[in-house]
Point group: C2
Chain length 253, copies 2
DNA sequence: TACAATTGTGTCTAATCTACACTATAGATT
DNA sequence: AATCTATAGTGTAGATTAGACACAATTGTA
């Protein structure tokens, strides 16, 4: 937790620079070694976990705010970001309220305000990320999606909603592009889909369908080193990929 | 436009009761005589058109705010409402800013603030609505979707985004339930789908598919009075309808 | 009474989805 | 080096679904 002095400084700064009552929270998805990962921060002292977030500068577009916040946490710029929901129940930040209310009078206290938070999800290449904690956290780290600890405030709900949205969007966007490294094998891509959808897919039908979209380029190279037959390496064909995005992907899984 | 005095009173009241920087705008869809309708308001004096909207009370959940706002405009309570996007560009309310900036000093002036607006779309039974103007408008009326006048601020974008969202949601929810009256014929329902999707559908295949969902009940009665063969009347089977909602509707149009 | 327009139902074909079989190959085992 | 094992690449038969269209039934009207 911040000292009283730190808190006071923070509040003065926040009040001056940020829009009141509005925050942004981000669910950053990465994919590594066959499992989905989410970026979480751990609170100083209490050790509680929460999602990366922040506020909107008074004259800043909200997408830019989300981008700025994530750049600070991941080192990455121009991340694939998708707004998905606003969480606006008056009690959603009650925990925060109780925690900070005795430290500063309410008039000056930024954290006892009510906040609506705009949820964004981000898809990133796991390997590109350099997790960095913020002012309130001791650590920022990837966490296995199947094994997320209880999160502060309504962040568990935010995460769940992001995941539900991602599943739906999977029907309309080839989401793999943002989550996979430049080169990958078909089984790796399939694993990603299986993780997001939380169900097994048929290897052969998956391959056919994926290739049917016409957005993958097969390299002549194979991924050697595995214990068995070496799979081909693929990459996204950016030109066709963009065209397909505009067309829209039809059909559900 | 409001007089200076009215504006001042409004601003004092707003400042006291509403969350700063946040507004709600609603796209209310209705369906009547084979065409989609949208509820719009006409500004006093200038005659410009805009979408029904309002602000969030300091201790009010945002869904409740949207509901309250729509109750004032339509007379209806517990409307089917769906949050779909936040519009947050800093310049989005520049028109408002320019219009009101000379009437009151910026410190007191509610309307020169930056507002993020949360977009909701609503689906209602056209016949149930009693359009009522708000404080800033001379009239509140249904407007043909194919023939919407230019709207104030970014409301044209908001409407377009709502419509795009509605099209996607059509794959996941039997949206007809909220837009159709209690009893309707299959051709009427088809017309609704055709209007939303903006394309012709095959009469026979539509019927088969619709009935395949198992959410319609056929009445023994026919709709007489038309110049030709009388079609059956249908209504939604609420029990199956709810079950289907949970299951999720698969497949795209 | 015949006609025009529309609705209810059926059916054929092509496309797609699903499940599974077979072959190929890299590394491990012997 | 020969064989084994697990996984990858490709193909195919059957079921399901989507799309196009034909035909009979029924309503009010000429």
């Amino acid at each position: 937790m911040l000292t009283k002095k730190e808190l006071k400084e923070y509040c003065i700064d926040a009040r001056e620079n940020y829009l009141a009552h509005i925050s942004i929270d981000c669910v950053v998805f990465g994919f590594h070694e066959g499992t989905m990962k989410v970026l979480v921060l751990q609170m100083k002292d209490e050790g509680e976990w929460y999602l990366p977030g922040g506020f909107v500068l008074k004259n800043e577009p909200i997408e830019m705010a989300a981008n700025r916040i994530l750049k600070e946490r991941t080192g990455l710029d121009e991340i694939f970001l998708q707004q998905f929901h606003v969480f606006g129940h008056p009690d959603r930040s009650k925990e925060h309220f109780d925690m900070y209310k005795d430290m500063l009078p309410e008039k000056e206290n930024w954290f006892t305000n009510r906040f609506l938070t705009i949820g964004y999800y981000a898809l990133v290449d796991f390997c590109d990320v350099n997790p960095a904690p913020d002012q309130f956290s001791t650590s920022c780290a990837w966490c296995d999606l199947n094994n997320v600890p209880p999160l502060k405030l309504d962040h568990t709900l935010i995460l769940k909603t992001a995941l539900d949205t991602l599943r739906v969007h999977l029907n309309y966007q080839p989401i793999g592009y943002n989550l996979m490294p430049g080169e990958f094998t078909m089984p790796e891509l399939q694993k990603l889909y299986e993780t997001i959808l939380d169900k097994k897919l048929d290897r052969r039908n998956f391959q056919r369908r994926m290739l049917g979209f016409g957005i993958l380029k097969r390299s002549e190279q194979l991924r050697k080193g595995g214990a068995h037959k070496a799979p081909y390496l693929y990459s996204f064909d950016l030109e066709n990929y963009r065209a397909a995005l505009i067309e829209g992907f039809k059909g559900s899984w």
